[in-house]
């Protein structure tokens, strides 16, 4: 039997098994801590920092998706510091990328009273849609750099290693080797990256075309050539 840890979250004292994250422990207490980059089937990297909470004795805020509980821990999930950090992160995100298809993040923006226009004249990460294969498109102006696609392409699922990063800092992007089109990489078009993308940056080509107003028949006829080329290979 796993050791039980006793801790306090927002005044509630609870017991959870050792090794539980603060985020999961909070769920047990009925407290939903928001997340953006976190995905149950991906390695947690604690990079969006939306899930930060205040832990007594800790100098800085703590990312609840990775921090493990310990005995006697006192956690506060809704303090002014926490709310200010979440709000500012959301405001900076809204000033950087196109969140029009990121419903969950839109919901957080509303919940935390974040203003999408808090940072006027901010440089946005705007890029052209990459349409280089018959399976899916990549619209990196919607990419929030949650890393999920890179992770499922690598050790978290597929072991294909077709995509990684280019650039650094604010200029970071998801990229293939020298930006090669996906068919020229190790990509096997498994679709896992599309499945975990939370913002519509990765989207099935068919869905993309439907949204652009093409009818299913038009899509069939327009993509016939691409399908044939693949079959001949």
């Amino acid at each position: 039997m796993a050791d039980q840890i006793t801790l306090t979250i927002d005044g509630q004292t609870i017991q959870v098994p050792a090794g539980t994250t603060i985020h999961k422990a909070a769920l047990q207490a009925g407290i939903q801590i928001p997340t953006i980059c976190y995905h149950d089937f991906c390695t947690a990297n604690a990079l969006c920092r939306i899930c930060v909470v205040e832990v007594e004795g800790s100098r800085t805020l703590v990312a609840s998706c990775v921090a493990k509980v310990s005995n006697g821990m006192k956690i506060l999930t809704q303090t002014e510091r926490v709310l200010q950090a979440r709000k500012t992160i959301l405001e900076m995100l809204a000033a950087s990328v196109d969140l029009s298809e990121a419903d969950d993040i839109q919901g957080l923006i509303e919940e935390y009273g974040a203003s999408s226009t808090r940072f006027p004249d901010a440089e946005r990460r705007e890029m052209l849609v990459i349409d280089d294969n018959p399976m899916y498109i990549r619209d990196y102006s919607k990419c929030i750099l949650c890393w999920r696609c890179v992770q499922v392409c690598a050790e978290d699922a597929q072991y294909t290693f077709a995509i990684n990063f280019s650039g650094r800092g604010y200029e970071t992007q998801i990229s293939t080797f020298f930006d090669l089109p996906l068919p020229e990489t190790t990509c096997v078009f498994c679709g896992q990256c599309v499945g975990v993308c939370p913002t519509g940056a990765l989207k099935p080509k068919r869905e993309f075309m439907l949204e652009l107003g093409y009818t299913p028949d038009e899509i069939m006829s327009l993509t016939r050539g691409e399908r044939r080329r693949r079959m001949r290979r």
Partner: protein, 575 residues
């Protein structure tokens, strides 16, 4: 794409083949030496030999500023753009270099031979304005003629060393490197000889008793760190020298490595003995090409003399060390990002815990110490903790190196006991302000530090005294500004630095450093928006409070301190 001959690369890769991914940075360095840039065909060969996915290799090339995914000039000139050099005229040097290159193109001379880039702090602040020509340091660049600099004919600047005491710097500032014979003649390796006869636990006790804390900026007790790694159960443990010195204004580690490499090596071997490590890495920032060369030579000497390698000094203790070059990334000074870099990855900091002492390099217990920290170890072991504590204050024992640069008469590296005043350092040792100028401010702790004005000139330089007035000691940097300086301009450079150097992993820092730079641009131009001071403050606190690593947590420190001292700078001037 131009054709290349891969035959030249093969023997170089053969040497690295068995190492796998950890050899990725050395392999990319080799590719660039041979083909001028990170040529895709050569990278494919690297991927095949080291078994690293191509997308990952491209990710690594893109992360480090000294790696080039596109063809560049045969000669690359880096002109420093950070405060100390900028104040000494680095912008004019950069402009002049660019004009000269343009002129060569107009004259029809080999147009692709020179590439000029603005660079982050090169760690040559005492020689400002500084630049690197194909990796070779050039100081006082504004006073040199172009031909001399561009052809690499100017001499490497000598270190400028002074202070009240010379324990760490006893062999520094003499105009040459203290190699093994001289080091031994001056009593070197006596600390190791004593340590290696002691029980490792007693060595750790002695370091704990000395009160030594890390000199890289975080000030973690060195003895406790060693003890943690010593107690961790593992077949393999590592010791790592953090020589990725890149904090703007810091150059102490470079001077120590160039002038007295064996003192650091001695400290490293003692650390390895204390925790039971058989392998060490010495990670030197990519811009320090000369340090890399000197340290490599010192290690060879030590091996030949039986001080390093198998059966050290006939005691049966085995320890070897490998020198690694960084490739242009401030973040790799963060310990876990440095591990990632040694492992052949982008320098993304890891989530902590686990801490390095239990899960560090390659997931094994690791002690990582700054160059200056290790340089303290031989003295402690030779003379004992009590003698060591004779220097400094009760809570900050020992000697400390300070890098003083900017508007002082004698910029340089100064060794003092903890507890002297900032006034003594700036006005006594560094000669004070130039004629006709008065002191305006000092940036304490580098870009990640905080500003202070004359109010704290008499504060004692110790961890406890500085903390009590809200200043960080950091790695011991003091950049001085006189009354002629436009602080907005300095602040803009600091925000530019962090926007360039953020790794991009966590949201607060990835976007916050960019937003901070954008707002500061408006302010520097004299056109702030009404609420910009609050925007800066909120971005600043969010980075400080919510970022994943120390870089993000300190990226707003200087700005937030400036808002306190000069709030008027951040609001629109009244018409």
């Amino acid at each position: 794409m131009d054709e290349i001959n891969l035959n030249q690369l093969k023997p170089r890769l053969d040497e690295l083949a068995g190492l796998g991914r950890t050899a990725l940075l050395p392999a990319i360095h080799a590719v660039q030496e041979l083909y001028g840039y990170a040529h895709p065909e050569a990278l494919k060969e690297v991927g095949r030999v080291l078994n690293v996915p191509l997308a990952d290799i491209y990710g690594v090339v893109n992360f480090y500023t000294l790696f080039y995914a596109e063809p560049v000039g045969k000669t690359i000139i880096h002109v420093c753009g950070d405060p100390a050099c900028a104040m000494a005229g680095a912008d004019s040097v950069l402009k002049m270099a660019n004009q000269k290159v343009e002129q060569r193109i107009l004259d029809g001379q080999l147009m692709e031979t020179i590439t000029v880039e603005r660079s982050a702090c090169l760690g040559l602040c005492e020689h400002a304005p500084a630049m690197l020509v194909q990796g070779a340091a050039v100081g006082q660049a504004s006073q040199r003629i172009w031909e001399e600099m561009a052809e690499g004919r100017s001499r490497r600047p000598h270190s400028i060393v002074g202070g009240d005491i010379s324990i760490l710097t006893a062999n520094c500032g003499h105009g040459h490197t203290t190699y093994l014979n001289e080091f031994k003649a001056r009593g070197g390796y006596a600390g190791l000889r004593r340590a290696i006869k002691m029980d490792p636990a007693d060595v750790i006790e002695m370091v704990k008793a000395s009160g030594l804390v890390g000199r890289g900026g975080a000030a973690f007790p060195t003895g406790a760190k060693w003890e943690g790694a010593a107690k961790a159960a593992a077949d393999q443990k590592y010791v790592v020298v953090n020589a990725d010195e890149a904090e703007p204004g810091t150059f102490k580690d470079r001077v120590m490595m160039e002038d007295d490499p064996h003192r650091i090596l001695e400290g490293l071997i003692i650390a390895a003995y204390a925790i039971g490590a058989s392998k060490g890495y010495w990670y030197i920032r990519g811009e320090y090409a000369y340090s890399f060369q000197v340290v490599g030579k010192a290690i060879k000497e030590a091996k030949a003399a039986g001080i390093l390698g198998e059966d050290i000094l006939g005691t049966g203790f085995n320890f070897d060390v490998e020198v690694r070059r960084g490739a242009g990334a401030y973040i790799c000074g963060e310990e876990t990002a440095l591990f990632e870099s040694i492992e052949g990855k982008r320098g993304f900091p890891r989530v902590k815990p686990p801490f390095p002492t239990t899960s560090g390099l390659f997931g094994m217990p690791t002690v990582i110490n700054n160059v200056e920290t290790l340089a303290n170890i031989p003295f402690i072991l030779e003379h004992g903790a009590k003698t060591y504590r004779y220097y400094g204050t009760e809570k900050s024992p020992g000697p400390k190196l300070f890098c003083v640069s900017g508007d002082v008469v004698r910029p340089g590296l100064y060794e003092v006991p903890f507890g002297v005043s900032m006034r003594h350092l700036i006005f006594g040792l560094a000669g004070g302000m130039r004629e006709g100028r008065t002191f305006k401010a000092a940036l304490v702790g580098g870009a990640a530090g905080a500003f202070t004005n004359q109010e704290h000139l008499d504060t004692r330089l110790s961890f406890e005294d500085l903390r009590s007035v809200g200043l960080p000691l950091g790695s011991g940097v003091i950049t001085v500004f006189d009354d002629t300086r436009i602080m907005k301009e300095i602040l803009l450079r600091l925000t530019h630095f962090f926007a360039e150097e953020s790794c991009g992993k966590c949201y607060p820092c990835q976007m916050g450093t960019q937003r901070q730079y954008e707002i500061m641009q408006r302010i520097a131009e004299g056109k702030p928006l009404p609420d910009d001071i609050n925007r800066l403050t909120q971005v600043g606190w969010t980075m400080t409070d919510a970022s994943l690593c120390g870089l993000g947590q300190t990226a707003a420190s200087a700005i937030l301190s400036a808002i306190k001292i000069w709030p008027e700078l951040f609001v629109a001037e009244r018409a």
